[in-house]
Symmetry: C2
Subunit: 210 residues, 2 copies
Amino acid sequence: MAKRETTKDKILNAAEALFAEHGFEQTSLRQITAEADVNLASVNYHFGSKKALIQAVMARYLEVLMPALNAEFDQLEPRAQFSTRDVFDCFREPLNALKKVRKGGPTIFLSLLGFAYADIQGHLRRYTMEHFGEVMHRLLALLHVANPNLSPADMFWRLHFVLGASVFAQVSGPALREIAAADFGESIAADQVVDRLIPFLAGGVDAPTA
Amino acid sequence: MAKRETTKDKILNAAEALFAEHGFEQTSLRQITAEADVNLASVNYHFGSKKALIQAVMARYLEVLMPALNAEFDQLEPRAQFSTRDVFDCFREPLNALKKVRKGGPTIFLSLLGFAYADIQGHLRRYTMEHFGEVMHRLLALLHVANPNLSPADMFWRLHFVLGASVFAQVSGPALREIAAADFGESIAADQVVDRLIPFLAGGVDAPTA
DNA sequence: GCATATTTTAAACATGCGTTTTAATTTAAA
DNA sequence: TTTAAATTAAAACGCATGTTTAAAATATGC
């Protein structure tokens, strides 16, 4: 028999949901503790600070994603030839694995990542970069192999355009899906956004310069 | 002889600079009035509220950009054939015209737009969309002509990926330029970022689906 | 030049935030 | 059961924000 949900977990779960919907700064500890039905002070008791809570929320996903992503890269790296598309497809499985963390995990995580990345000069940017720095470098190297014609500087910028498109697509995803549903009469699942995103990104990276 | 800079303008200019650098929410009225060297209460006296001030800052640019952009579209629309690249190139001149508002106007405006877009559920999103709604629809229609093979839903999403990449490139532009300068020993002007962006966007939009 | 309207100023207000404190309570170990 | 540790609870703290007030200063129109 599983122990009843602990206070710490109640906080993490409530925080995660609110963060993914409204962002980190826009979510107050009072909202979180009300949603989690725990005392306000328990956040600082269990996590020490709001910053630490945010990082704890991210950590649950990063611990699953990072090994999986590196494994995919390990598999691709030794190959003599691969395409830009092959590189981006490396993200599919690791992202999908986040379903193990939670139903809707992939979407939730990408939203969190988006808010972290959008938080331009906060501690989150640094925290995220620390955890993604290695991935970014491997990604740059792999993309360079797939596109030897592009200069490192060009590839640098394109990689960041890629990040921008991905991140904002997720952050504004819910709002956009509403509009899409209204305009086109079809509701679009979050997974399908990634499916639509990857060809776009590959096309952008593979585009001729100038 | 021009009258000495009025309080209202001092506020607008200081606010614009701070907003473009740190975002709307992250900039306080006290920072703005200190920078402008005016009294704190004068913001509410002249503009009524912070929200109204933000909109006034945006308005100075939108009033220049919108007519120019619609003029470009008017020119392209009757043509029998045009490419995705042609559509995106419509933005070059209108953006460039923002230099009339201020030195560095194009970059400043795109930063402001980026923060407005990133502010997901604030009033800014609605305000921006109200002013860009028509442009968005024209843009969608034009892109559909340039890419008749893409379904409206696909094009809708790709347009938003385009927005995400653009917005992000501007918001995190300064930080990225620093990194790029350090890594590649080349300093990149803001205008050149747009030059790098447009081929990427066109490549993404033109990419095959699936 | 005076009366009136406009603008500037300093101070305070109300609110919400993350955090801290201190005491009560529950849990676990001896 | 008793004692010690861990957790929960309520309240307050200190701070920053946007906004409002009311008096002082300035500019405007007759």
